[in-house]
Homo-oligomer: 348 residues x 3
């Protein structure tokens, strides 16, 4: 397989079309911090499974369209080529492309809205990265979150759209909560916690995404599981809503925080793991708080809580013996977390 | 007329009172990015027309009072003199001065509130400019927006005030939308889209403001029209609320974005025009989204959407052959957009 | 007494346990910008009085637990030792520790929530300080405010908690306001305005806190009174809610603004006093505006308005002959406010 990878990599250097396909494939993988076209391909398979299995193939169409439009927009705006080739301008638009057909009803104008939204996601990515660079950070998936919030909130003011978020606008304390149960049905719930990173409610998709992580980084796969299991069990303990719990909706933000803080932006270790477990709880608390804020507006939290929690965890810039590169494990341990984050910042 | 302009300019250099009047006159013009006392005077005429024609002369009084208080506050706080002389400390307070008597009922305490609000607008201008300087940007009219939001939201907690925003607090989906129609009545709507920059609902005022733009910058006048027409037609197509549409309320934010992005902060051209058209759509989407967020609080969006959209469009700092200065058109084209924005930042 | 202070200070240098107790004691004093363990001890006495007198001793337990957990977390995260010794990592967690048992019902899980919240407050302190350093500012008590908002908003989504904020979720204009009266009962109200800085509704506690200020800085004590009296009278004049007024709820944010702007971050003087009076009005307006925004979510404003108003007042960075140090009053007057703020930024 290494030969195939090397062959593909060579093709990508020579052929602009292959280069474009390669950049596009890396997009879905960069959502979970992996720079690998094969992982991206597997994730697209997972998205296709989720969309067709759920009877909504247009969601998969939206994902591909968003990915392509966002990546092309970045080309037109002449972004940094190295970052572009790593899929760093595809990972937010692919999510916008999933979200729009998930939350708006099907009609031709929705597709125009999606195209404009995917292009806007790329502009917002450049804008937020310019701001977050000040503190050695990047925008993560926040451009997707902000753009999708704007598109959904805006759709309420347009007669041509119907918003299908399944969320009734409510003020705090108006609804009633039915708690979840601790039993073996939690295992598919944990996997759905992983698939929900891509707004997909399917344990099969979650399993495929886990494989996509595994082929590129075992630490990332491990921490994805830790994030989903940890946040779901904590939500269960505190008595969170059972229906949301069952769909994996308390897991997906913590999955991203756990991969970022536990496996990618620091060198995995004991202290880092403790900090990551704390980060999983922080992510859950930010998520339920944001849910209370957004429920009156009837829009979902998306991956906003992951972004907020992970920024808060990285900004203190503590020295946890960071991992600059999987290959250079023997590198001096004095390199600070700051340097790693900066490098990530430049890459993302 | 050039002679008269030169004579005025000389007077302004020698006489402190004339200098003060000149700085005040430039304020209203700087709302639409023009540094010209005659444009400012014409805009004041447009505001007077709108206020008297609408039967609310006190709104014009508020505009003048806000302008003077904001400009004097800047003097007391010893701001940069060159910026002050360009009217850059008058353009937000004049808007606060219009907004307070527009949205609060008439009583003596309202005038104290207005004076404190106009002074606060200048403090907030200095504060936000200090923050946005970090990214080569300025606060635009956001100090007016934030201050006025605070004044209106605060007024709900004071028995001495009655808020007259005509907005019923509602959660998303509670109201019903009646769409607008495509006919010749849209022409005055386009002009009202321009007058609404100054919270004024009058096509005559819109026309006078257009003339005020024209005498200083033809590109600015052209893009003001493009912004108003573009955003209004897009809102009509997507099925936005007909009553708001008729008042020009979907146009005024896009007017400002179009002038800023299309005519002032970049050198006008084909690629810039495409980016500006995209920016007009972005501004409309941000506006309707913000309207959904603010409707439960019963406050208007004001020019918030213009500020947000224009920051997002400028932060990526793309190279569109910028226009540093109307006089030096032959200047080398390699000067980057960044430099232009920085210069604007210092000026504003 | 000077001898006792010197003896304690020597002990604190030699004995790690005394050093820890000293750092903890300075925490409550740093809420009101005082670096003095005796002031902190007096404030703890005031908190104990308020908690026991109000029949809720667990609130005092929460204060001590939050203070210790936050201070220990900072040690574990290896923060700057000099700042840590000044109590700069205790002042926000002690407030979180008061807020959680004040606003959530008593049960074992609440204490776990409090411990996680206090630890999170320290992480958020480091994160926000990293951001605000960009503009020569610090996070003040905003880490407490944000963390507590998240904990309360999140609690609405957990069946294990009941939120006791006494705030009915309402949209603007839904309630009715009963105004306060101008009489001698305002004197205890002014003192409650000081105790409410620590979420405590007791004029006796307010008096003890005033003494705690007095023994360290007479200017701070004076401006605390000016802030409470000024904001309360202004709220009374504008017709604010009488019940909130009586509890001192319109005073406490202005108390903090007045100490910060009038006594600590600038050299006290005539122009600074005028600016501080303006700042007191600004703080009140921000507070009532924020109350309107947060009422639909049924969470309190806490000290958010002080933070926002004080940042806005400091960012313009005007030159008011700053006071770098109480001892070096004769120091050259050319030292800019910027330097003072920077020094404060490093200290806090």
């Amino acid at each position: 397989m290494t030969g195939a990878v090397r062959g593909w990599s060579g093709l990508s250097d020579r052929n602009p079309l292959i280069e474009f396909v390669d950049a596009c494939l890396r997009g879905p993988a960069q959502v979970v911090f992996q720079n690998n076209p094969l992982s991206g391909l597997l994730i697209l398979v997972a998205l296709a499974w989720g969309a067709f299995d759920g009877g909504q193939p247009r969601i998969f169409g939206g994902a591909v369209l968003g990915l392509v439009v966002g990546t092309v927009t970045a080309l037109v705006l002449q972004v940094d080529r190295a970052s572009w080739r790593k899929g760093l301008f595809g990972f937010s638009p692919v999510l916008t492309g999933i979200a729009v057909p998930t939350f708006l009803d099907d009609r031709p104008l929705m597709w125009l809205y999606l195209v404009l939204g995917a292009a806007a996601t790329t502009v917002v990515t450049l804008a937020l990265n310019a701001i977050f660079k000040t503190w050695g950070l990047t925008a993560f998936t926040m451009p997707f979150v902000l753009t999708t919030w704007v598109l959904l909130l805006g759709a309420y003011q347009f007669n041509r759209f119907t918003v299908l978020t399944d969320l009734k606008p409510m003020l705090p304390g108006e609804g009633t909560l039915t708690e979840g149960r601790f039993d073996w049905d939690l295992v598919p719930t944990f996997l759905r916690g992983i698939s929900q990173v891509y707004l997909t409610n399917s344990w099969v998709s979650g399993l495929i995404i886990l494989v996509a992580l595994l082929i590129n980084s075992r630490w990332s796969a491990l921490f994805a599981v830790v994030g989903s299991v940890g946040a779901t069990l904590l939500a269960l303990w505190f008595g969170a809503d059972g229906a949301s719990l069952d769909k994996g909706l308390y897991g997906f933000n913590a999955v991203l925080t756990a991969i970022a803080v536990g496996a990618v932006l620091h060198r995995p270790g004991a202290l880092v793991t403790v900090y990551t477990l704390f980060g999983i709880a922080l992510t859950l608390f930010v998520q339920v708080a944001l849910a209370t804020v957004l429920t009156p507006l009837a829009i979902p939290v998306l991956t906003g809580p992951f972004n907020i929690a992970t920024w808060l965890l990285l900004l203190p810039n503590r020295h946890f013996a960071p991992l600059p590169n999987h290959e250079r494990v023997k590198e001096t341990l004095v390199s600070t977390a700051k340097r790693t984050v900066r490098r990530q910042a430049e890459e993302r």
